[in-house]
Symmetry: C2
Subunit: 86 residues, 2 copies
DNA sequence: CAGATATTTAGACAGATTTCTAAATGCTAC
DNA sequence: GTAGCATTTAGAAATCTGTCTAAATATCTG
C-alpha cells in the first residue's frame, strides 16, 4: 500500500468523506452539504482520495459521483493489519 | 481513536519504526541504526508516536527503551477497520 | 447560443511538518 | 566531580498542507 493512502487518511475531513461514501456513492454537491469549507477545498480533498485510489468517480450528466473503491479497501485493511500484528 | 494516531502513521519513517518495534522493544540508539537522519529528528518522530500513544517508554539505566503500546494497537485496528467496513 | 448549475484549476497565504545544528539534560563510571 | 555516552530540547530553514477567492471548464435547459 502506498504512502499516499496513509497521507490521505491523515486528515479528519477526508476520513469523514470516506464514511459518508461508505453508505452510498454521492455527488460532490451532496458531499458538500456536510462540510463548511468551500467547493474548491472539497475538490482538493477528493483529489487526494482519488490519487490514493481510495475512491472512484463516474460522471452522471451534470454531476460527478464519488464512491468508495471497494477493491482497494481490502488491500488497505490487510496492509494496515500487517503493520501492527505481531 | 484520535486524529493523532492517523497523523503519526502518515510518515513512512514512523511506520518503519513501528515495524521495528513489532519485533522487539529497542533503545533509541538501536532504532537510530536503521535511519540516516539525526538523533534529534529521531527523537521528534518518537515523540509523535508517544503522543499518539502508539509506543511506551521505559528507562533502563542510560538507555530509554521504546515498545509498541499493544493495548492501544487493538483499538487502532478496530477503529481503522470500522472506517472502511460496510 | 445563452444562462444556470456542477466541478476543477490556478494562484496565494497561513500554519504545520520534517529536518538540521547546537546546546541542554540525565545517567554511568572512573 | 569530570568525562563520556544517550537522549531531548530549542531554534531555524525548507517544504508541505489546508484553505480561500477568482477564474476556467463541462453539462443541461430553454
Amino acid at each position: 500500500m502506498s504512502n499516499e493512502v496513509f497521507k490521505a487518511l491523515a486528515d479528519p475531513h477526508r476520513r469523514r468523506i470516506l464514511q459518508l461514501l461508505k453508505k452510498r456513492s454521492m455527488s460532490v454537491t451532496d458531499i458538500q452539504k456536510h462540510f463548511a469549507f468551500t467547493g474548491a477545498t472539497l475538490s482538493h480533498h477528493l483529489d487526494v482520495l482519488k490519487r490514493a485510489d481510495l475512491v472512484t468517480t463516474e460522471r452522471r450528466g451534470q454531476f460527478i459521483h464519488y464512491a468508495l473503491n471497494t477493491s482497494v479497501i481490502e488491500e488497505v485493511l490487510s496492509a494496515f493489519y500487517s503493520l501492527f500484528s505481531c
